[in-house]
């Protein structure tokens, strides 16, 4: 494994960051070292930051990337890669491209994808529908392998040859008819956020282990807080009629022994007593421990309430951790995360719906091998580690959850390994293949109607849902 920055360059970088060297000298020394313009740009950026006097906090994006060994020579190849949207994360994606280009000689164009996942998927589908090679590489959501499998280059051999072991659950999810449609790149899972100070105040020793405990604890805390804070609520989650509700609903039912909506063999299993009981319980939250409006909440609505200190519990993705822990946050130091609670019926277990992104290569690409090399590069342990350190991206490789550097940057990662290894559950996107969109729309719509009361009979609603899902699956 070669350090990316050879020593003289490292020194130059260090000097630049601490403002010990002028821009002119950087140019002079850099040219003498034969540096590429991209790298020189990085160093100059470091200099301008360093000159402002905050060297440690303002490292240039991609500084922690070590270049994995064995990258091919791709001189003369041009790659168009579809990475993250514009924003604070774009610099890291850009650094990925620059460093890969630097190491292989390829030209890498970073195309910024849409911020909204739906827009992004539509764009991919329209591009593929016209067999366009507008991009060679793309990041795809964990629920898209089934939808995009027919446009994918099979990456299973490439992964096998790389010798890297990715999380099994995600590998399974990404494999459609023996084709590995994407390399697990960075992941996500549902977590329970809870207020340690409030738990203590009301005499609870530990975070709730079951949904019933959560309900009881939240009820007591809300009753106590209501007097002094009329904006206070017990539990926020994603209840709007969209993909986020599919994630929440799946956690409720799976943790209660209610299965995965559609099982791996394609059979519709949603209509069972465990699922109905789980939905009944969730319906009971609305208007009691959760606000009435939770049926319109997406991630940020709930986080807003939580971040202002107005909620005792929250179901959300890991991203809310660093925002809540930031120095200027009201709740900093007063909250923690844990696995989502279990149900209390037979077959109950912990459940955290998997999210996250995969590295995908388009079969319409004219440089499939180069694009595959890029996919292996971004999903390599080295680059995943850097993403974890710099962007709090959750690795898809178990070893990285015990890596000292990663844990130094994100201490809470330590508690997540269990969630990924044993408690995670994937949405039935692989079983329903390209019909997953219909499954999710139908499921989210029904569950939203259950929560907001438009569907008054939970059992009947679930039965209808099962009927619709069977109709959909009959088209498969």
């Amino acid at each position: 494994m070669a350090r990316y920055l050879p020593n003289p360059v490292n020194n130059l970088m260090a000097d630049a960051m601490h403002g010990r060297i002028s821009r002119r000298d950087i140019m002079k020394k850099g040219t003498a070292l034969g540096l590429s313009s991209a790298l020189m740009g990085t160093i100059l950026r470091a200099e301008s930051v360093g000159a402002q006097g905050t060297p440690a906090a303002a490292m240039p994006a991609g500084y922690s990337i070590e270049v994995p060994a064995g990258l091919p020579d791709l001189t003369g190849t041009t790659l168009n890669v579809m990475l993250g949207a514009d924003g604070p994360g774009a610099a890291f994606d850009q650094a990925n491209c620059d460093i890969f280009a630097e190491a292989t000689g390829a030209t890498v164009n970073y195309l910024k994808g849409a911020e909204s996942a739906t827009d992004r998927l539509t764009f991919y589908q329209q591009t593929f529908a016209s067999s366009s090679n507008a991009f060679d590489f793309a990041m795809i959501d964990v629920i898209w392998p089934g939808i995009l499998a027919t446009h994918a280059v099979d990456l299973s051999e490439a992964v096998a040859n790389s010798g890297v072991t990715y999380f099994d659950r995600i590998m399974q999810n990404n494999t459609v008819d023996d084709v590995l449609t994407g390399i697990p790149w960075f992941t996500d899972a549902g977590l329970l956020y809870y207020r340690t100070d409030l738990l203590e105040k009301y005499g609870f020793a530990a975070a709730p282990a079951t949904w019933q405990e959560l309900t009881d604890m939240a009820t007591e805390i809300v009753a106590g807080e209501a007097a002094s804070n009329s904006s206070f609520t017990g539990f926020t989650f994603q209840g709007a009629a969209y993909e986020g509700l599919v994630c929440n609903g799946l956690e409720w039912q799976f943790s209660n022994g209610g299965g995965t909506i559609i099982e791996d063999d394609g059979s519709v299993s949603v209509n069972n007593p465990n699922t109905i009981a789980a939905f009944e319980r969730a319906k009971g939250w609305v208007g009691t421990i959760s606000p009435q409006a939770v049926t319109g909440y997406m991630e940020e609505d709930g986080r807003g309430v939580w971040q202002a200190g107005n909620a005792a519990f929250m179901r959300n993705w890991p991203y809310a951790y660093s925002l809540g822990a930031a120095a200027d946050s009201v709740i900093a130091g007063n909250f923690d995360v844990t696995s989502l609670p279990m149900g209390d019926m037979e077959g109950s277990s912990n459940a955290a719906t998997l999210g996250g992104w995969q590295a995908f290569v388009s079969k319409y690409s004219e440089s499939q091998e180069a694009a595959t090399a890029f996919a292996l590069f971004v999903a390599s342990p080295e680059v995943q580690k850097a993403r974890a350190i710099e962007r709090s991206g959750l690795p898809t490789i178990a070893d990285l959850y015990t890596d000292a550097d990663v844990l130094a940057a994100n201490p809470f990662f330590e508690r997540l390994l269990d969630t990924f290894q044993s408690g995670s559950v994937a949405r039935p996107s692989t079983a329903s293949q390209d019909l997953y969109g219909e499954v999710a729309t139908e499921y989210a719509r029904t569950l939203n109607e259950i929560l907001n009361g438009t569907a008054s009979e939970v059992g009947a609603a679930v039965e209808d849902l099962a009927g619709s899902l069977e109709d959909i699956m009959a088209d498969l």
């Binding site: 993250g84 949207a85 514009d86 924003g87 604070p88 994360g89 195309l111 910024k112 849409a114 911020e115 909204s116 827009d119 539509t122 764009f123 329209q126 529908a129 016209s130 366009s132 507008a134 996500d188 009329s230 904006s231 991630e299 940020e300 986080r303 807003g304 309430v305 971040q307 202002a308 107005n310 993705w317 991203y319 809310a320 660093s322 925002l323 200027d328 946050s329 009201v330 709090s392």
Partner: protein, 311 residues
């Protein structure tokens, strides 16, 4: 409410005497309800204040939000007046080079669309409004039918076409697509405007030996300035605000418009939505538009008088 405008009288435009007679005869003299003038005045200004509050308050709230530190945004209950202000969100907006590029793109696209729609639209509207030819109605409704499909439904085939014509991710491609909603609107409003003008206007010009095009240029067009300015303003704003097509048919900085750029402001974390930054960006793209409106809105009235004098 004073409806007559002293000093704005346009004596040249006249309904026929027959018409006026009809209007007069429809009501036999009735007593004017004796509303005290003062009460009317106060009522009028209350109405104006109500209009301003109604239209401006949400915008004011966008400005307040864009100036509020991110962590204060979620306070509940919300303070009615901001407690602390910051310019951070504007800094983020102005430091983003792709956003500034997007503003330029939007200016180019919206201006071109409006000019093109006005050019095509005025010619068509003159023909549809002032000339007598067979198929006039067919053309009117054909043009209208352009906007009868939900935009979302034609995205796919438009995307295919854009790819085939190499118009994908280009500004000119966007201009052409934007005609689908600006052109029908321009044609209909201007046709209506031309139709409403008395026939003697250009007839006298025609009698003097002018060609129909000259009559259009010298007589009708100056008279139609208020209509044209109104149409241009509304069309410009709808092109400027368009999101769906811009999102679908552009990809890189060279063609991305402001609306897409606003949605592209993402938080430091996945899922995080920087509401205040987006509001700052929205304010940044709306204010110049309003300044523009403030400047051209005089022409809504001014043009008519000028035209009348000329005609």
């Amino acid at each position: 409410m004073a409806i007559t405008m002293p000093g704005q009288t346009i004596n040249h435009i006249k309904a026929s005497d027959e018409e006026l007679q009809k209007i007069r005869s429809t009501y036999v003299k009735k007593n004017k309800s004796p509303l005290p003038v003062v009460a009317g005045r106060i009522g009028f200004w209350l109405l104006i204040v109500a209009i301003i509050v109604y239209t401006l308050f949400p915008f004011y709230w966008a400005v307040v939000s864009s100036l509020t530190p991110a962590n204060d945004l979620f306070q509940s209950p919300v303070p009615l007046f901001p407690t602390s202000l910051t310019l951070d969100h504007y800094r983020v907006v102005f430091q983003d080079s792709s956003f500034l590029r997007a503003i330029l793109n939007s200016v180019i696209v919206s201006t071109s669309v409006v000019l093109l729609a006005l050019l095509l639209g005025t010619l068509s509207a003159y023909a549809l409004g002032r000339l007598n030819f067979r198929g006039r109605k067919l053309v009117l409704y054909l043009i209208l039918s352009m906007t009868m499909f939900p935009a979302i439904a034609i995205l796919g085939s438009l995307f295919q076409m854009m790819n085939d014509f190499r118009a994908f991710d280009t500004l000119w491609g966007l201009v052409i697509v934007y005609l689908t909603f600006t052109l029908p609107f321009t044609v209909w409003v201007l046709t209506n405007f031309f139709r409403a003008m008395p026939a003697e206007l250009e007839q006298s010009a025609l009698v003097d030996g002018a060609t129909p095009m000259r009559a259009l240029w010298d007589v009708l067009l100056p008279m139609a300035v208020p209509g044209i300015v109104t149409t241009a303003m509304l069309a410009f704003i709808s092109a400027w605000s368009e999101f769906l097509f811009a999102r679908t048919f552009t990809l890189t900085e060279r063609a991305t418009t402001v609306q897409v750029a606003i949605s592209q402001f993402t938080g430091n974390q996945p899922f995080e939505e920087p509401f205040a930054v987006r509001m700052a960006a929205a304010v940044v793209v709306t204010v110049p538009l309003l300044v523009g409106v403030l400047i051209v809105q005089r022409r809504i009235i001014g043009g008519l008088t000028a035209g009348a004098v000329k005609g």
